[in-house]
Symmetry: C2
Subunit: 506 residues, 2 copies
């Protein structure tokens, strides 16, 4: 399985490699913490020298700026995710940030209240997209596309109460991969699980498990336990909370708030504690109640096939059939899955619940048909990588280990030890830029040499070229290694070639 090092060169390998160092490793610099930035709330004067309309200068509730340090981490993680999607033959697609309000209506069940609407400024009623799946289904129906494997990386917006500590924001990034089309059963579904494994292994976040269930098994289970059909959706929403809430609390919600008979709840309780491998699938086939339900049998049949395929993919040990897995969204119709990081023994003791989901998805065979004028269905299956959670895990680890991140890629700094050398510096740096070399100088007419060299050390720039009177007279440029402080004189006309040689060696 491709690891980060293989895909992205040494820099990233070292970056993440260091995450795995034991605590107490040498701290070479502090990561610029976002939370400090977010707390920097100032009162602004909108019109200096005019009326002063004071207001708090901040980002909107539940949103934040992403600092250069965060952007570097994100870029590396997104590169790995997108590489994997492309490895599986996906095409890119982008959709507008907002959709007609009607497009989003009745797709998200109890969460619909979290949709951001745009103000009616004359014209169409619009809402910010809530996920990337509904826009994809709308795209397929609108363009009559019957078959497509696509990925989409983009922001989505949800008006959730931002419990920022848990890394939940109202604006966040989603990375989706979906396969649309009528195919033989479970082959694309198994590929989705394989992709989740490749990405989570590649990111080296620790051990993980993918829980799998099927909406038809859930519906069958509800039916044989005696849940009225009108309550299937709302009970499914309650079951979905089992990752975050105890069974006791979920049972209370179902009985006290949603009016389920206690004995029905208890029958559900017996099922939802079951999890295991393919043998549990076999066991459920024999279950006296479940085996009487046609839907459940269809779901179990597909899961059996899915286990066969993931075994061929070499990832069976990562997959767990879990009857408590529901997934909150209304549009799922078949297999559903969710990847969770397994807590270390120490973590497990602290927080027995709340092992975080880092990827999830499932089959939604009816969604495209909801947009099609004739109701023509396009079966779909897909997954979403929980990159925001992954970003915050990686950022947290880097902070713990005091990892210093370079936020620029500058290779060469152009300096002079003397005054009145701006012209020479400008000529020299243009030559480097034109050769494709990443280069910087200070925007001062006469900066001090020490200031220039300090800048290189602070920014992690490896090479300095120095031009002064002596060099100009002799037709040379000094090339200095910042790390070793070694300097060599190089003929002006050979400078670019020498720099390119050094950079290709490093």
């Amino acid at each position: 399985m491709p690891q980060l090092g293989l895909l992205h060169g040494r820099a990233w390998a070292s970056l993440l490699g260091k995450l795995l160092r034991p605590p107490g490793a040498v701290c070479i610099g502090a990561v610029h913490s976002h939370s400090q930035v977010a707390e920097a709330v100032l009162v602004s004067q909108l019109k200096p020298h005019q009326e002063k309309s004071n207001f708090i200068i901040k980002t909107p509730k539940g949103t934040r700026d992403l600092t250069p340090q965060q952007m570097v981490v994100r870029e590396k993680i997104l590169d790995l995710v997108v590489s994997c999607f492309k490895r599986h033959g996906a095409k890119g697609l982008d959709t507008p940030a907002f959709e007609l309000k009607e497009v989003l209506t009745e797709k998200y069940g109890e969460d619909s209240g979290l949709i951001y609407d745009l103000q009616d400024q004359g014209g169409e009623l619009l809402s910010l997209r809530y996920d990337l799946t509904v826009p994809f289904a709308r795209y397929l129906a609108m363009n009559k596309v019957k078959k497509m494997k696509r990925y989409h990386v983009g922001k989505v917006w949800r008006r959730e109460s931002p419990t920022v500590v848990q890394g939940r924001y109202r604006e966040f990034c989603q990375c989706d991969f979906d396969i649309a089309g009528q195919f033989d059963p479970m082959i694309p579904d198994a590929e989705c699980l394989k992709i989740m494994c490749e990405i989570l292994s590649g990111l080296q976040l620790g051990d993980f498990l993918i829980k799998v269930n099927d909406r038809r098994i859930l519906d069958g289970m509800f039916a044989v336990c005696g849940v009225p059909e009108s309550k299937f959706h709302t009970i499914c929403s309650s079951i979905d909370k089992l990752g975050k809430m105890s069974w006791k609390d979920v049972r209370h919600e179902m009985v006290a708030k949603k009016g389920l008979a206690p004995e029905v709840a208890d029958r559900i309780g017996d099922y939802v504690q079951c999890h295991g491998g393919v043998s549990l699938v076999e066991q459920m086939f024999q279950d006296p109640r479940l085996s009487q339900n046609k839907q459940a049998l269809e779901g179990l049949g597909d899961l059996k096939l899915l286990f066969e395929y993931v075994t061929l993919f070499g990832i069976a040990e990562k997959i767990s059939f879990d009857l408590s897995l529901a997934r909150g969204l209304d549009y799922y119709t078949g297999v559903v899955y969710e990847a969770v990081l397994l807590p270390t023994p120490a973590q497990a003791e602290e927080e027995p619940l709340n092992v975080g989901s880092v990827a999830a998805g499932g089959r939604y065979d009816g969604l495209v048909g909801m947009f099609d004028p004739k109701g023509h269905k396009v079966p779909c299956v897909g997954l979403s990588i929980g990159v925001e959670r992954i970003f915050s895990i990686v950022e947290q680890k880097m902070k713990t280990f005091g990892e210093k991140i370079r936020t620029t890629e500058t290779q060469v700094f152009v300096a002079s030890p003397q005054k009145n050398f701006l012209q020479e510096r400008l000529k020299l740096i243009a030559e480097l830029w034109d050769a494709g070399i990443k280069a910087e100088l200070l925007y001062k007419n006469n900066p001090k040499l020490l200031t220039q060299l300090h800048y290189c050390e602070n920014m992690g720039i490896p090479l300095v070229v120095i031009v002064g009177e002596q060099e100009l007279k002799e037709g040379v440029i000094k090339l200095r290694s910042v790390a070793s402080r070694e300097e060599v004189a190089i003929k002006r006309e050979n400078l670019v070639a020498e720099i390119q040689k050094r950079l290709s060696e490093s």
Copy 2:
């Protein structure tokens, strides 16, 4: 200067290289046209089998989906732009899609009506960002950052009347580079012009010119021509239209709509027809009226210095001092610039006006201070690449030349000529994926060999691995080149190495 070939390998060089081929070159396939897609408007039934609430299924007015073909073109262009920004030492930054409404208030002059507001759903009043500059200034002030070189690629939204033919959308991508900080004059400004030249040369869009002016020269010109100070902003907005409207129409707007005295308008008319190199700067220093204005003299002094620096950067022949250049935005305070593609002689005859702006920017020294509680200023200068216009130029050229774009990167297809080989295909493809090889198969239990090979030809996949009874018996896999149709048998255990060898050679 780095060209596309250098930066992005052969595929892209060939892609753009072919743009330069004469019309009549062989058409090997049609680019999937977006406009066809956008016109595919359907009536949807929201709830099949229930009440049928028909609505038109479409993207919101002025927006569109980006197809995989468009995404490939965009990715390559954005890669080139971002590479250039990084070559100049810029850091990445991201800000939320929306800001507090007050942050955007009074920043955009006459265009403020085009801002998208979010519905008041309880809580803060929010607006979608209108550009990336104001959020950057807000970020600097909020975090008390005094110095920063950053780039930002992101969507912005403007409720303009979408004249889609001209490639203007209500949602579009901006690519900005800005330098904030107190530095010696014109050094960062000159770097901004250098960056624009590097990007436009690298994209090989044809010949271009960067018009340069200074807001202080404009204000000085207005003052000496007799424009009342209260009308500076609105007259500046009129002058900004000179690229798209004739002088006659602009003069009419200033006199009839904005109440300027005709003789004042005519005096302005004498100036705004002037354009030239550094000699025009010298000439304006001697202008009997303009030389009496302190502001104008400051602007002219800076432009003189700017010409000195762009000469050292080797781009002086691309820069033109143009007294008609105004730039519409309120926040500019000093030098302003705009890059235009020069029409070919044939184009010049057809449309003498409307040579499109493809990059623009300027100095805005007061914007950060508008957000700072004490009005502390952070001088800034920056540029924005008009990537949407560039995207549509490149797409149009590719369409004209019938360029076929690969929308996936798949390297190897896994096939079988016989039935009941799904298991072997799945094992084989997992091995390829795990080795980092981009691979696909058909999601069918028993696809026909011809169907599989056709898929490879249609998708441009170069290699096929074939496993059948014979191969299984002999412990080999057949490796087929799609282009040459040559097949060789390779020991199963050597397959991955052989594929990697072939891919590295191609």
